[in-house]
């Protein structure tokens, strides 16, 4: 029964979770790893979380896994003012036509996580504060700064390719 319930949960959530992970890290390979790690932790605690809020647990776990990887690999990830030139043939990175997703990768990890939770998942400020372990005021400021950074990166892209017309 336990595994069957979990399998149903996994099947219903997998695609959305993988896309969320992709929005966070901008790389399908890493998104796959984050998604798998998140579901492994949910499986481990399934007996306990299934009766409560497994989606909340999954959101929290995935977000924290992402932030942990960025904390550990801070030296490897460098925020840049301008989007880098696309590398020919680098299909694992954010696709070139997805300019907003590409711009999102130029937002700092915590602001990025805030934007994904607030904008993609429509979570309340209180829910995001609980997931990130900060105050609601911090969520608001992270969101505002994240949006500003997203816009700056987005408007640095080719105007003809933008899907949001001069959103400022």
């Amino acid at each position: 029964m336990r595994d069957r319930d979990f399998a149903e949960f996994y099947a219903a959530r997998f695609d959305a979770v993988r896309r969320t992970a992709y929005a966070l890290c901008g790389n399908w390979g890493e998104a796959e790893e984050l998604t798998q790690s998140g579901f492994v932790r949910v499986y481990d605690k399934w007996g306990r979380v299934s009766a409560g809020n497994p989606d909340g647990y999954l959101h929290t776990t995935l977000t924290r896994l992402f932030l942990d990887t960025r904390r550990r690999g801070r030296g490897r990830e460098r925020l840049v003012a301008e989007p880098p030139e696309p590398v020919p043939g680098e299909s694992a990175q954010v696709e070139e036509r997805h300019l907003l997703l590409a711009a999102l990768q130029h937002v700092s990890p915590k602001q990025r996580a805030t934007l994904v939770l607030r904008i993609v998942h429509d979570l309340s400020i209180e829910q995001v504060a609980k997931i990130l372990g900060c105050s609601t005021g911090t969520v608001k400021s992270q969101q505002a700064r994240g949006m500003a950074a997203l816009r700056a990166a987005y408007h640095g892209a080719d105007p003809a390719e933008r899907s949001v017309p001069d959103a400022r």
Binding site: Q36, V40, R41, K45, A51, Y57, L99, L101, S163
Partner: protein, 266 residues
């Protein structure tokens, strides 16, 4: 949210929906396999706790204030008079002695160990600064003679745990959640810590349930640890633990002080 924020939201969701993820294999099978392995490792850790308990049988100057033999060295105010949860005790898989060095006619305190029914850790939710400060303030208030530091996030994860100096020991704090009724959750988790006797319990007027477990030895660091769990009515679960070294005298919370911290943050 402003109109242009809505435009960004719509565009971002559209882009995300239009991305084409690569095909994957049987991810569920891998997740289940890795999840089972993770659980086995965790349970093995619990088994190590039993071994660790046996290993402290010669520990000196460590006094348990459990629910078994009366302990002459512990002042009566050190324990709480909360009733034990109305649950049958479990059959021990092992017993160890802990306490002062054996002397003629004097023995240590027997502590019975049972197979844990759940997880000794609950932490996966972050605790904001305000909550951490409230825990520290409560600890300082109930133990003014003890040096209590500020709670900081432990670099070793999982679980997500906050730690602070507590005299010569450590104060540990974790936040998780639970589903359903607080009392039912407390019952379900009553034997999570390899304890054989049910925890002592108090139900507050606001519906929060507090239960304090008998002292055990933490499998991660071999420290003598007493745990209090607080089940808030909104589904939030706190775990406060006072840990002291087992190989030397370790001023740390008494059971009563630990319980008082729980009451102050409930």
């Amino acid at each position: 949210m402003r109109d242009d924020d809505h435009a960004v939201r719509h565009a971002l969701r559209t882009e995300l929906a239009m991305t084409t993820p690569p095909a994957t294999g049987d991810g569920l099978a891998d997740v289940v396999r890795l999840g089972r392995r993770r659980r086995r490792v965790r349970h093995a850790g619990a088994a190590l706790a039993v071994a660790a308990l046996l290993g402290v049988s010669t520990a000196t100057a460590v006094v348990l204030t459990g629910d078994r033999a009366p302990v002459a060295d512990v002042p009566p105010t050190a324990t709480v008079d909360w009733p034990a949860a109305d649950l049958p005790p479990r059959n021990a898989v092992g017993t160890f002695m802990v306490g002062p060095p054996p002397e003629p006619g004097k023995e240590g305190i027997p502590v019975h160990v049972c197979t844990p029914t759940g997880d000794g850790d609950v932490g996966y939710l972050p605790a904001d600064r305000e909550l951490r400060d409230a825990v520290v303030a409560a600890a300082r208030a109930v133990a003014p003679d003890l040096k209590v530091g500020n709670l900081a996030e432990s670099p070793k994860q999982p679980p997500l745990e906050y730690q602070a100096q507590l005299g010569d020991g450590i104060l540990r704090f974790q936040v998780g959640d639970y589903g359903g009724d607080p009392l039912a959750a407390a019952d379900e988790q009553a034997f999570d810590l390899a304890n054989c006797q049910p925890p002592k319990r108090r139900v507050l007027a606001n519906g929060a349930v507090l239960q304090v477990y008998p002292p055990m030895v933490d499998s991660k660091d071999q420290m003598l640890t007493q745990v209090l769990r607080v089940y808030l009515p909104d589904g939030t679960l706190y775990q406060v633990a006072a840990a002291g070294w087992t190989q030397r005298p370790a001023p740390q919370f008494t059971e009563r002080q630990l319980a008082e911290v729980g009451l102050r943050i409930s």
